[in-house]
């Protein structure tokens, strides 16, 4: 292993050590280019002559951009492994990386075949609106699965902060984020202080339930195969709260204000939310969704400020920390400023 690059021989030596098979052949290793918080390696192997694909996940140099430990991410996958919510099955968490793969902790899960790309989703031609509508509906089905999961029996109350009741989900989320920020805050953030007044005064009290939330979701976060989501990935902003929050995190899979057309009808946000409600029983109002879009800005500030820590400590973090700590931070503050009236 040279610097942070994991070589074929590193994986080979590690798997021989860990699994103690007679033979290990590494056929291919690929480092996933997406995701700015953690790094993911796909390793195609033959163990005792049988093909087996693994996914290795660990923090990037500098640590985690999110104030969300890798172990917690593993615990989420582990709790969901035997549910109807599609996730990659966890295999093991490596707390003591051996001499074969020095560096931070990592965990290993089964690789799910598929791609984060939905073919033609990005093609702006109207004829592909059907593709977008179909992908949106599939995503609604999977969000409904998550939001109706029995998080208590799955053990999520043991690893997440639990709102006292459904009505206080929004306030609980804001105060939880503020509390997390205070844990590592290194400089005053007056825009956040000013905006907190707006967040506290406008926190909705009509969440119908407390649900497991995925956090970041949508295009780039899930694994697709034949227009179906076969694995929900990137749970590092997961929590318990109002399901409306997840819709504020959805990337590209909600219709734009102009809607998508399937030739005869135009499919709008309200249609997506109606479909979701019909299968989940959970109403999502645009008021709650808009509130959580502002909370999303607070979350951006939270993880962006966290990203500044290894830079300030003059460790050797990846340049992505610098980008997040500066430009993403500014975007988060702008979002808070727009909502709270600092910007006209």
């Amino acid at each position: 292993m040279k610097d942070n690059k994991i070589e074929t021989s590193d994986f080979e030596g590690y798997l021989l050590h860990k699994l103690e098979p007679a033979t290990v052949e590494i056929e291919e290793i690929t480092k996933f280019e997406r995701g700015f918080s953690r790094e993911t390696w796909f390793v195609k192997t033959k163990i005792n002559g049988t093909t087996k694909d693994y996914t290795f996940r660990r923090d990037i140099p500098g640590g985690s951009i999110q104030p969300f430990p890798l172990r917690l991410e593993y615990d989420i996958y582990d709790r969901l492994s035997n549910t109807t919510i599609p996730v990659a099955k966890t295999l093991w968490y490596e707390e003591n990386p051996t001499e074969f793969i020095p560096g931070p902790d990592f965990f290993v899960r089964e690789k799910v075949e598929g791609s984060w790309i939905v073919p033609n989703f990005d093609n702006p031609a109207v004829e592909y609106d059907d593709v977008r509508i179909s992908a949106c509906l599939e995503h609604m089905r999977k969000l409904a699965l998550i939001h109706t999961a029995d998080w208590k029996s799955l053990g999520f109350a043991e690893i997440f902060s639990v709102p006292p009741n459904a009505a206080s989900c929004a306030t609980h989320t804001v105060e939880r984020l503020v509390g997390e920020l205070r844990n590592f805050q290194v400089e005053p953030l007056p825009v956040v202080t000013e905006a907190l007044e707006w967040l506290r005064e406008n926190a909705p009290e009509d969440s119908p339930c407390i649900s497991l939330l995925k956090g970041t979701n949508g295009i780039g976060e899930e694994i697709w195969q034949n227009n179906e989501i076969v694995a929900l990935s990137d749970w590092e902003e997961s929590s318990l709260g109002d399901p409306a929050s997840d819709f504020a995190h959805t990337q590209e899979l909600l219709p734009p204000p102009t809607g998508w057309s399937n030739g005869t009808n135009t499919f709008h946000l309200k249609d997506a939310l109606s479909f979701y409600e019909s299968i989940s029983g959970i109403p999502i109002t645009e008021e709650r969704l808009n509130f959580y879009r502002v909370v999303r800005s607070l979350e951006s500030v939270l993880f962006s400020h966290h990203a500044s820590l290894p830079l300030i400590a003059k460790e050797k973090p990846l340049a992505r920390f610098a980008w997040v700590a500066t430009e993403v931070m500014h975007g988060g503050e702008m979002g808070l400023a727009r909502a709270s009236g600092i910007l006209d």
């Binding site: 996933f32 825009v191 992505r320 980008w323 430009e327 500014h330 503050e333 910007l343």
Partner: protein
């Protein structure tokens, strides 16, 4: 003296973008190179703008903090919020604290330390005013002070926008 740091950095950015980034075929390395190029441009903008931005910010902040000190001193008894009582002295301390002498050229680090102290004082003022809203919220001077604070925050975001490209929009960086 010439080339200046900004002139050197400009050349480095052009060379990196033109000769290094396009040659990186491995997707992760290519993505990282785009981030590096973007951050070099961010640093270049900061070299050119940050000194003046901090100077302007500190001057504006001192003016607002003085206005806050005067208002709070006048209205301490009107609010049931006891934390207001300690603020005038703390504001004065933040404004008066010197981080460099008259003989020194103030380094960016020293000016940033001054800015941090003033911003910390502003946070205390905002929290104090928010907590006193029930008692003082209808007072015109209270409202005007809050407007001034928001105007400063808006101006500061505009100053910082000079070196920030809007994140997560446009081409991958």
């Amino acid at each position: 003296m010439r080339p200046r740091a900004d002139e050197v950095l400009n050349s480095v950015i052009w060379s990196f973008d033109t000769y290094i980034t396009p040659e990186l075929e491995e997707p992760f390395n290519h993505s990282l190179a785009l981030t590096i190029g973007n951050m070099l441009r961010n640093v270049l903008e900061r070299i050119e703008s940050e000194g003046q931005a901090l100077f302007d910010s500190n001057r504006e902040l001192e003016s607002i903090l003085l206005a806050a000190k005067n208002y709070i001193t006048k209205n301490t008894d009107a609010s049931k919020n006891n934390e207001l009582k300690i603020l005038p002295a703390r504001i004065e301390e933040a404004i008066e604290k010197q981080f460099w002498t008259e003989e020194e050229y103030p380094s960016l680090e020293r000016v940033t330390e001054k800015a941090t102290l003033l911003r910390a004082s502003l946070v205390e003022v905002i929290e104090g005013l928010q907590n006193a809203k029930n008692d003082l919220g209808e007072d015109e001077e209270y409202k005007e002070l809050r407007v001034q604070i928001r105007r400063y925050l808006k101006n500061q975001l505009a100053r910082e926008a000079k070196w920030s490209t809007e994140a997560l929009q446009g081409l991958r960086r």
